[in-house]
Symmetry: C2
Subunit: 435 residues, 2 copies
């Protein structure tokens, strides 16, 4: 920010992939309108990428492979490289050079957020990342600003489009997980290495960011308990459908008396629940605040243009702050809240066992639940098992137990005990049920 | 803002009604947490009200009847008086005295917004009003900030809880409008003088504010075309229900090639549309932006605590700006967009006529529509009229015509012509159909 007052604001773009290209397009296409909103002219001074780019919106003369050098000659650096390194190095370099940073990099913030927020505060620059959670949906800014007068108790949402698409396909077409994943990859909805999405890590990064913003305490990726969707079978989906439910991958962050928790898990949701109708690349987040009550924010969670919309919104805000010689209040983590112990959170669970159906099976299974102090809400033995169930042998019946609220630690102990019964076979399926 | 750097920020509250009392509660109850978020201590220096107040959260020693004087000794003035005058005088007084203003007063902003925004800019203070549209839902701030990098094409929403409650009651209990209104008044959901709500003026004020923020052009209350719900009959509701639709009062703002429009009208919505499940005091707003695509924001649109949540969020933001010696970018109306002419906007309409059923009726009505160039999408003669229809005589049949897209001016001319036919009796009912 050492530049002359009248000189255009210098913007550097790191990364020229889908979002980078769309960001460049918006900055070029909407130039006049954005200058109005900023109150000063701006120009893209460089686009750092290691690969050749052939894109009508990317000016070839701006391309550079020297990312570090580019970071030192910009007022605003837009980081769209993704991943931890070298993104972290360049973001810190930009901040140390006095540039405000706009990023969509959830992995970086969930891992090194505290270091980056601190550096930004020390160097008097902005760090904005609306696009890191929920794509185009305003989530980060409302949490930083709109709920500044309230107390957020919990947030719950669908924040990963890839898994949402796969679960949609499994539900509507009866596909098994591997087939649905393969199709998603062919259509470009899932990456060649889909681990980050399907194992829940992408959603976990977003959960860490949401919890940090909502509860004003540091929650990192290592604090998030993560369960992906790789174990979901066509049999799980069929059982859910039979009970008018759908399976969605949820990110859930809560602040209770026991402390703070951040979790990602697939859950059964009633088909009438608003989240049940969130399909494909759409995301939705519910916020429960003490005074505001329930808020739902819904929109495109991914895609080039929607993500670029959020990125450029942040660029305009950072530029306005440069014009008025100020910065937004940094990320505030004045609380030091403990992580809630794993058994502090209660949920209802639906467990499917494969059983050899003979008299007394239900009684012995019910007895194990009773012995562990877990009360049963309902039992369903109508559903037929399929060859999609691990351990299926063609002679087995399916028994589905839905519990009342209990903690996961006790639930898993109970399921282990049940699985040791002679009448039980194969792998059980365990899913949370959203109330 | 002439005060000492270390002195607590001085907050004045104008009005001690439901929202005022809840705002005072939050400022007292959450004092320590809010001081963390602001970065400086604050104190309530006065509460202006003309009536005696008996409320545990209102400190009697702070009460004053001299509102103008209070405005001169505060850093932040919270205006919760409502209405145009004297609110306008006090808000301007506060701004001229160097105080930032937080208000929930939609009528004031829809009428005198430009004067107030200009005064705030001239005196270097903030004017925040998140609570003026959609209560606790973050709408104003996302429009001012999150969509700064995008182009909003339209907004559409349910923004008035009173009419939403009345229409809900009419739908679920089959009540006629007058009865539902009376019950809403008895339960405190509608005011003794309900005109502002039921005639659509409250929603119109919000539409004017939404259009101004979304399109960066001045749209005032007089630019909004308004139709309330007073003409909706139990017969309209019954006809809607029979066709799996509900009637909702919508605020709709659009930016098309013809210009800008802001409208409030009751419309038929498919029962599967997300807005159909927005009940009671909940509000919801859809935003259609060029890059971000569809966004939906949903939450409590009214009520003491939710509204106070938005008010205090604004107070914290204004206080942070005072601490860092800055202000947010003012309300930007750099566009001078024309109002779209009334016939520029096309919609599908559902028109119910009361007819003397004899051969040739449908033909002659259809001919009038054809003569006016309006194409008919469907006709329904199954529905029975009721004594709720104006002009009902017990011998009449009901004929419902749903048009393809047409403009309202031509539609109304057509309906007038149809009503002059001998076979048509009573008052027709005209409703838009949301596509």
């Amino acid at each position: 920010m050492a530049q002359d007052n009248q000189a255009p604001i210098r913007i550097a773009l790191l990364g020229a992939g889908t979002v980078g290209s769309q960001t460049a397009r918006l900055l070029v296409e909407q130039h006049d309108e954005l200058v109005h909103r900023i109150g000063r002219d701006y120009q893209i001074v460089g686009i750092a990428t290691l690969d050749p780019v052939n894109d009508p919106w990317i000016d070839q003369s701006l391309l550079t492979r020297d990312t570090a050098e580019l970071c030192t000659r910009a007022d605003i650096v837009i980081e769209l490289i993704g991943g931890i390194e070298p993104a972290r190095t360049f973001v810190l370099k930009a901040i140390e050079s006095g540039a405000s940073v706009v990023t969509a990099n959830k992995a970086l913030l969930a891992k090194h957020g505290p270091e980056i927020y601190k550096a930004a505060q020390e160097h008097g620059v902005d760090i904005f990342f609306e696009a890191a959670v929920g794509g185009a949906i305003p989530i980060v800014r409302p949490l930083r600003e709109s709920f500044a007068g309230d107390k957020v108790n919990s947030m719950l949402g669908i924040v990963n489009g890839t898994t949402n698409y796969i679960l949609d396909e499994m539900t509507t077409k009866g596909l098994d997980f591997d087939v649905a994943l393969h199709q998603a990859q062919e259509k470009g909805y899932a990456e060649a290495d889909p681990t980050g999405d399907i194992e829940g890590y992408d959603a976990a990064n977003k959960a860490a960011i949401m919890a940090t913003l909502a509860f004003h305490t540091q929650v990192g990726i290592d604090d998030v308990s993560v369960e992906g969707i790789t174990k979901i079978t066509a049999a799980d989906i069929a059982a859910a459908t039979a009970e008018h439910k759908v399976i969605k991958l949820l990110a859930v962050v809560e602040h209770t008396e026991a402390g703070v928790s951040a979790r990602v898990y697939p859950a059964l949701i009633d088909e009438n629940h608003p989240l049940a109708s969130v399909h494909g690349s759409f995301n939705a987040v519910f916020i429960k605040a003490k005074e505001a009550d329930d808020i739902m924010l819904y929109g495109r969670g991914a895609g080039g243009a929607p993500t670029a919309s959020a990125v450029v919104g942040d660029v305009v805000m950072a530029a306005r702050n440069i014009v008025s010689g100020t910065t937004a209040t940094g990320i505030q983590t004045y609380n030091t809240l403990p992580l809630a112990p794993a058994d502090a959170s209660k949920a209802a669970f639906a467990v499917r066992f494969l059983i050899h159906d003979k008299p007394g099976v239900l009684a012995s299974i019910a007895e194990e639940f009773a012995n562990h102090g877990i009360s049963i809400n309902g039992v369903n033995q109508d559903l037929q098992p399929t060859q999609h169930d691990p351990g299926y042998s063609g002679e087995l019946q399916q028994l589905r137990v839905v519990t009342h609220l209990c903690d996961e630690v006790t639930l898993r102990k109970t399921v282990d005990a049940v699985c040791k019964l002679e009448c039980v076979s194969g792998e059980p399926s365990i899913l949370r049920v959203l109330d």
